[in-house]
């Protein structure tokens, strides 16, 4: 048995799904753990039985920082690490508070941003 090695790979498929408005992660049918970013076999157990599933979009802020910039260079912006309910962690941006005001531990919800490189950002959930 060998791994599938032709046609659009997991990275390309993830991006196509994102452009179609679907945020997905890979879940292993053997160990049950999820992986992100996309890959060709499970990073946890090595199984090839990775299945693409819709992500819940529900997350919690694991850590956060604000990159400081002069106003003429676009001003400050937030960069955070968010733990998704599926058990994967994303580098991302959290909106809904000032760049320096994002609380660690806050609940957040995913939102897809399309463009040159489609990507996922998160909004603070109003408690």
């Amino acid at each position: 048995m060998t791994l599938e090695d032709r046609g659009p790979g997991p990275d390309a498929v993830y991006r196509e799904e994102l452009l179609a408005g679907r945020f997905t992660v890979q879940t292993c049918e053997d160990c049950g753990l999820s992986s992100f970013p996309p890959r060709v076999f499970c990073k946890h157990c090595g199984s090839a039985a990775l299945k693409r599933v819709a992500a819940s979009g529900d997350g919690v802020v694991y850590s956060t920082s604000a990159v400081r910039n002069r106003p003429d260079k676009g001003g400050d912006h937030n960069v955070s690490l968010v733990d998704l309910a599926e058990g994967v962690r994303l580098l991302t941006r959290v909106d809904g508070a000032g760049p320096t005001e994002v609380p660690i531990g806050a609940r957040v919800k995913a939102r897809i941003v399309t463009g040159d490189v489609p990507h996922v950002v998160f909004d603070l959930v109003k408690e």
């Binding site: 990275d11 991006r15 992100f36 970013p37 694991y62 850590s63 956060t64 920082s65 604000a66 990159v67 400081r68 912006h77 960069v79 955070s80 690490l81 962690r89 994303l90 580098l91 991302t92 941006r93 320096t100 660690i104 531990g105 941003v113 463009g115 490189v117 990507h119 950002v121």
Partner: protein
Amino acid sequence: MTHHELRGASAVVGVGLAGCGEAPGRTAMELIGAAAWNAVTDAGLRMTDIDGVFGVSAVHGMPSVTISEYLGIKPRYSDGSMIGGSSNVAHILQATMAIRAGLCSTALVVYGSNQKSASGKLVSSAAEFNPYEQPYKPRFPITAYALAAARHMHQFGTTRRQLAEVAVAARGWANLNPEAYSHGPLSVDDVLNARMVCDPFGLFDCCLVTDGAGALVVVARDRAKDFPKKPVYFLGGGMAHWHRSIMQMPDITVTAASESGPRAFEMAGMEPADIDVLELYDAFTINTILFLEDLGFCPKGEGGRFVEGGRIAPGGSLPVNTNGGGLSCVHPGMYGTFILVEAVRQLRGEAGDRQVKDPETAIVHGNGGVLSSQVTSIFGTEATL
């Protein structure tokens, strides 16, 4: 107790620095060449005596090949493994293995960069495009370390004031080192009031960007006394890495130093209490705190409280980063070389006003990427063999 076969198998018999601080008008390779020449001369050798080359650079794709050509060396064995700032610390272990295996006899470990004069900003392997990171405009590597610091503060109550203590201690050591780039008074309030760069880091929480090169000559233990300077023996080494991208780091408050450290201590047959001098890769103030914890000098989460009250500063109970560190001495992109050189100088007793009293052992901990590759080396004087 039987010792690991690499314990005491090699010794550093030559060290050299060049172009530290600012060296405008010099190429990276000219700085590498000068540091290599200084190290070889310090060992009482000629460049043609070198038959093993372990070198890296931020700007050469085949660094050990390019470096060997420039130095006029035709090595029997060479290695240019690039694992970030810890590369040269790993090369000490690899040189020891190659010497032990008879693949070479006189090894040169070297790194250099002219990145301050050439670009004025970090020349970093983090420049690889990652579509899962770039859209968020992180300022790598700073942002990754800032995220670790923010989480450490949240989880353990570490404060910006405690982070600042690390920068203040480093400056205290730098003020005793005429070769350090930054001199002058620096208070906790100075650190706290500086321009913010990437929360929770202000300007003084971040390392310098300088030029500089460093080199070491490594030989087998049985030749170590044939050279002019007091030999410094390799006692233990260990490496570990778990991630390349910060989002893949399992717990950003626990680094792979928690594995590389115990591996090095086991090889050396030592524990943290046996160490006299610590040289920890301080690219940012949080690094020193994380590595004090992960190497076992204090419990996890206690690093912030541990460094309070000048404990790691000159006059404190634990001498850490005695050259002034990446924060106040030198940091040309990859800093591992410079902590190796400082450890050797301390164990030789050549450290001038910053000399720790009669040290017998030193630990060098190298870090690469975004808290990614972790490499620990333990060195000692002849008395520790």
